[in-house]
Amino acid sequence: MENAAIFGWALLWILFWGALGGVVTPRVYARKDLEISQASFGGAVIGAALGPFSLLPLWFATPKITSRLIGIAIAIVVGIFIAAFALADPDNLCVANGGFVISQLANGIVIGIIYGLMALGLTLIFSILGVVSFAHGEFYMIGGMVTYFMTAEWIPGVSPIIAILASCVVTFAIGYLFERIFLRPMGSGEIERPTEYAILVTFGLAFFLQYLTQALTSAVPVKAQRFFPFPRTEIPADSGALLKMTPGNVTVFDAISIPNPRFTAALLALMMLAALLWFLYRTWVGKALRAVSQDRQAAAVTGINPNSMNTLAFSMGAMLAGLSGASLVQVFSWLPQVGIPAAARSFVIIVLGGMGSLPGAFLGGLIVGLVEAAGTGCIPDATRAAAYIPAYGMVILTLVLLLKPTGLFGREL
């Protein structure tokens, strides 16, 4: 980094005024008997954005801190951060190479969509059952394993779509059985300490599934072939300057490249997401699920069986994790332990987005995907950039929890 001091001072500015805004603003609003639920978060981002130039008017005028105001402030903070980085390290690829930046953004969005899909399952389970499933990573692993074995071992040549559907069926069925046998007693009051019970029983399921899979398939990594290889195409035909496709990659404008397995995995995830949204918002059962997540007792009064919704939510959550795994088994080498980091990332995402919030989970996935891509691409030290991947999401999570403990879309307590 050529001018590290510029970046350091900018960071210091953001942190100092952000911290001051976060601490003082709620007190100012409280003294004036105003709504303070957004004061800490809003004060922090508004302070980080323009320092005293925004904080003093805020403290004197005390306007209502709206989501729009917060959004504008966040955009300014991100702008300051990017500008300082560009000034500090003008030769960095993230500054000097537009194609590289867009490729990284595309990679971040693509992987973020898949993270989001997986986290959706976890947050769906939490919103209905109030249970954090520690076996979520194992459903992800099983989804990938079923797809691999279907396409490569059991029925070679079978359509990947059928294999993915089979993964969905298997993970849905395991989730269904598990909920009926182990989680249903929680709802009927048979369990004295249901919260602890849920943690332990899902942990138990995680270990059981992981080691059962290892016993059945061995711990040697496997990987499915590309589901839908691109046809070899060049536009224009002689140079491929506009579009160049090989079976494993698509390159647009000779600069932006997206590997085929990621592209198809993200498309599958988007299609599944659309189907899920349609189900939740357009069908009676989906509306019933949402009703139970909002008010269990009121939903029961209207004739919805909360126990059935519990079973459905857990099974669907498991299926969404399985679907994420099924779409990614063509991207990563697959092991019985492959779900551990994926589950850890999902926990980060749902806390970041707000526990139980479906839009929050999806947005959280996108944010984590983008931050990971930006961190990996832009950290100047090549020997550190990728080594910090697990830390990027944690940094964002820590910041959000400091400023907004309920997460981005979490319900206020």
């Binding site: 590289f100 711990a219 990594p221 496997v222 990987k223």
Partner: protein
């Protein structure tokens, strides 16, 4: 009522599980997997005719030898399973010969998971709970670096089979022996090969990208390689990742932006598979740029499953080409092939076999199971192993100072052969790969891709 209902569902689940197990059991046999080693401890095998005379002795308390292998992630499981199979063969061979000093041999294999803290714990357990008199195997350097301290504290010898970090021997502990090559020597071979590609094959080689792992193997190996490349006038950029990294998309974009003339992978296990295939998807794989894959790529079934676009990979191979195998190696390969269905044995599996056999011979030579006596015997050993004649010429009676060599040669097998092979056909078996370097072993010229 609820209890009865739960019992009903539990029975259904157990029935489904039993059906699943039965279905998958049949599948395992058809894919030619090794016999599942349900027991990690190799029980003393039935002895053959000459040993039958000693059946009374064979009922005695077994001599226990420990064995280290990564058998679950994030360790290099492919390597660990190969090592486990070879060390189980060693146990069976020893017992078939009548054991050691007439006593049966028990090889206790433990899973290090490729993690130093786990390695420390299992070595502690092997020594103080299981009562082993020596330990063989070992794959990950970070495990070796940590485990050597436990061996030192307890005075029990370890013969490391596949841990390359120089400091494992350069600390000059009496208890630590190694038949794997030194990391710095391997780096020298890599760079000599790269120079050879440039100087004798006319390849353009101005910049090399190194992908390494943040471990006691990867970091020094990358530093050594960088220094040697620098000395050869070749620029290099190193990218480091955690051992279990899956997603390399961001790093691969950066590698592309460097426009490297060659890529060298120093990451092990499935991380190396993930990197190589994701690089291939992005258009900078082995078919696009000269690419050195990690040696775990020599497990060809797993390699082609995980890296279908890995053709033209250069792979560093420790040990001689198969045509130069001695009798011990040929017998080992025959047995290993029969058990695993593979055509050849991986170098680290061969070294693991030798590490157990070395300890066994040291016990025989010393006539004692006292670890101190075994260490004395190892220092003076002359063992004809699958890797060739194995000795440790730099030892307490011929220290590095006296011999005028670097301390890294302490208790170090000096002659592990290193060749560079290349997959030149998609789906090729490792045994059929072309030996491209050095010239003395060359079977085919290298296929060099991406040169305009």
């Amino acid at each position: 009522m609820n209890l009865r209902r739960n019992l009903f569902w539990s029975l259904i689940a157990l029935t489904l599980l039993a059906l699943l197990l039965a279905a998958c059991g049949g599948q395992t046999e058809t894919v030619g997997e090794p016999e599942p080693a349900a027991e990690e401890e190799a029980a003393p095998a039935a002895t053959e005719a000459p040993a039958a005379e000693e059946s009374d002795d064979m009922d005695m308390e077994p001599i226990k030898i420990g064995a280290l292998a990564p058998l679950s992630a994030p360790g290099a499981v492919v390597g660990g399973e190969a090592m486990r199979d070879a060390m189980l063969i060693a146990a069976d061979v020893l017992n078939a010969r009548g054991g050691i000093m007439g006593r049966p041999v028990e090889v206790i294999i433990v899973d290090t998971e490729g993690l130093p803290e786990r390695g420390t714990a299992v070595v502690e357990r092997l020594i103080n709970q299981d009562g082993v008199v020596g330990i063989g195997g070992g794959y990950h350097s970070s495990v070796g670096v940590a485990a050597k301290e436990v061996a030192r504290d307890n005075g029990v010898p370890i013969v490391f089979a596949e841990t390359w970090n120089d400091t494992i021997t350069s600390v000059q502990y009496d208890e630590i022996f190694r038949i794997a090559p030194l990391s710095s020597e391997v780096s020298a071979v890599d760079v000599n090969f790269i120079q050879w590609l440039r100087d004798e094959n006319g390849m353009k080689l101005d910049k090399v990208v190194i992908l390494t792992e943040n471990t006691d193997y990867g970091i020094p190996a990358a530093e050594n390689t960088t220094a040697l490349l620098d000395g050869a006038g070749i620029a290099s950029v190193t990218f480091s990742v955690d051992i279990g990294t899956q997603d390399f998309a961001g790093i691969i974009e950066r590698v592309k932006a460097e426009s490297p003339d060659m890529i060298v992978t120093l990451a092990t296990g499935e991380a190396s598979y993930n990197f190589t295939q994701q690089a291939a998807d992005a258009g900078i794989g082995p078919q696009d740029v000269p690419f050195m894959c990690n040696q775990v790529s020599l497990v060809s079934d797993a390699f082609w499953t995980n890296v279908p676009d890995g053709n033209n990979c250069f792979v560093r191979r420790i040990g001689l080409p198969q045509k130069l195998y001695n009798d011990v190696a040929q017998e080992l390969v025959a047995e290993y092939s029969a058990r695993t269905g593979k055509d050849d044995i991986e170098s680290y599996a061969m070294a693991s076999y030798d590490s157990i056999m070395l300890i066994a011979q040291a016990i025989e030579d010393s006539g004692s199971t006292d670890p101190a006596d075994i260490i004395d015997a190892l220092e003076n050993i002359n063992h004809m192993g699958a890797l060739g004649p194995i000795t440790f010429p730099i030892n307490r009676s011929n220290t590095p100072d006296q011999a005028g060599v670097d301390p890294k040669w302490w208790h170090q097998f000096p002659d592990p052969a290193i060749t560079i092979v290349q997959y030149q056909e998609a789906g090729q078996d490792a045994v059929d790969t072309a030996v491209v370097y050095p010239n003395v072993y060359q079977t085919d010229p290298p296929v060099i891709v991406g040169q305009e």
